[in-house]
Symmetry: C2
Subunit: 198 residues, 2 copies
DNA sequence: ACCTGAACACCGTTCAAGT
DNA sequence: ACCTGAACACCGTTCAAGT
């Protein structure tokens, strides 16, 4: 790639990150090109579809979560590893409104540029669930899809301004539903006792 | 209202209901006017903003849910009333993709045409929660906003094609988190024993 | 090679002109 | 009173013309 093209591409990514943080995944591409000081055609040359731009922004985060899941699998107890990872993946959407809807779509759509990254991440998360289930620490009636559905729903809550302040609390509530009764003690420790939170 | 105007209005609502069921709350208004056989200006004369059209479609459903909550409050045990209502409100979104996002926005926005209807419904639901909490049947660290956040998240799951088949199961999982341990027996009865569901 | 912006087909919304 | 569709300002996406 020519030096000027690389510079344009990198700058577009920087600007896109800011704009998406401000306006969400459906931000205007014209606006991104304008703020980056390049023509709209230049944006399309580097990122032929909106998805290609978002993919470039999200892939590194998703791959990092995959790595993180594998770390937790060997470093931490099965129940704590699962719940910790659940909180971390939900937190990733903090500055990326709409990221989770993209992940859900990418898993279902094999042609998506994000497909491989998301499927790998889902597999890594499912491993954490299976490991905890093998020791009877989590509900037996949940599969990997259920885990990702709950994660997605909680991340969606984070995206809603009127619910954002309660989202962390509700993540704990849902986590308590995933764990079997006997394993819920460390959750109470983690949140500093049963908070009233009214 | 003149007879021809009333006829146009009613027909627009019928067509809008079908189109929104097919395409969701962000369906093209041009498309609705076209399929109703009226000019685009006619649609805007009867429903000056998109929200006014959706409001006409949703208000009756939300008001029915308010009535239903008040019925359950006097007819059914506190825990069963709450969980039954939770399932019913989640089910309302089955043929209205995006209905819950509208409800969330309407509660936060006092100028919304749906505001009164949604706030009343939220109050009715909160009453069911408080009644169950008063008898110690549900977690004490949940408020009415938390209840509606969980409802909204579950309804959002119903809207996602890849999660829709698991949404009812996950509603039961979340319901089990809302109930205190001693009151979870009727949930197991309701779902016919602990289902493996893999 | 790469960049640019006009052009195309859409959208929500408004409004002057008709009946 | 009510209806109509052109007009306006946006959007995503494409592509002929430039450097």
């Amino acid at each position: 790639m020519r030096a000027d093209a690389r510079k344009n591409r990198d700058h577009l990514l920087e600007v896109a990150r800011d704009v998406v943080n401000e306006q969400g995944a459906d931000a205007s591409l014209r606006d991104i090109a304008r703020r980056a000081g390049v023509g709209l055609g230049t944006l399309y040359r580097h990122f032929p579809r909106r998805e290609a731009l978002l993919e470039a922004l999200l892939r590194t985060r998703f791959d990092a979560l995959t790595t993180r899941a594998r770390e937790l699998e060997t470093s931490t107890s099965p129940d704590k590893a699962l719940i910790t990872w659940l909180h971390e993946i939900v937190a990733v959407t903090h500055n990326f409104r709409g990221a989770i809807a993209l992940m859900v779509a990418a898993i279902a759509e094999p042609d998506s540029a994000l497909h491989a990254s998301c499927v790998t991440m889902k597999a890594a998360g499912t491993q954490l669930l299976l490991r905890a289930q093998a020791e009877g620490l989590t509900r037996a009636d949940l599969n990997g899809t259920d885990l990702f559905a709950l994660i997605s729903a909680l991340a969606w809550l984070h995206d809603q301004p009127s619910f954002a302040t309660r989202a962390d609390h509700l993540t704990n509530v849902v986590a308590s539903a995933v764990l079997t009764r006997s394993t819920q003690d460390f959750l109470r420790e983690a949140s500093g006792g049963p908070a009233a939170g009214r």
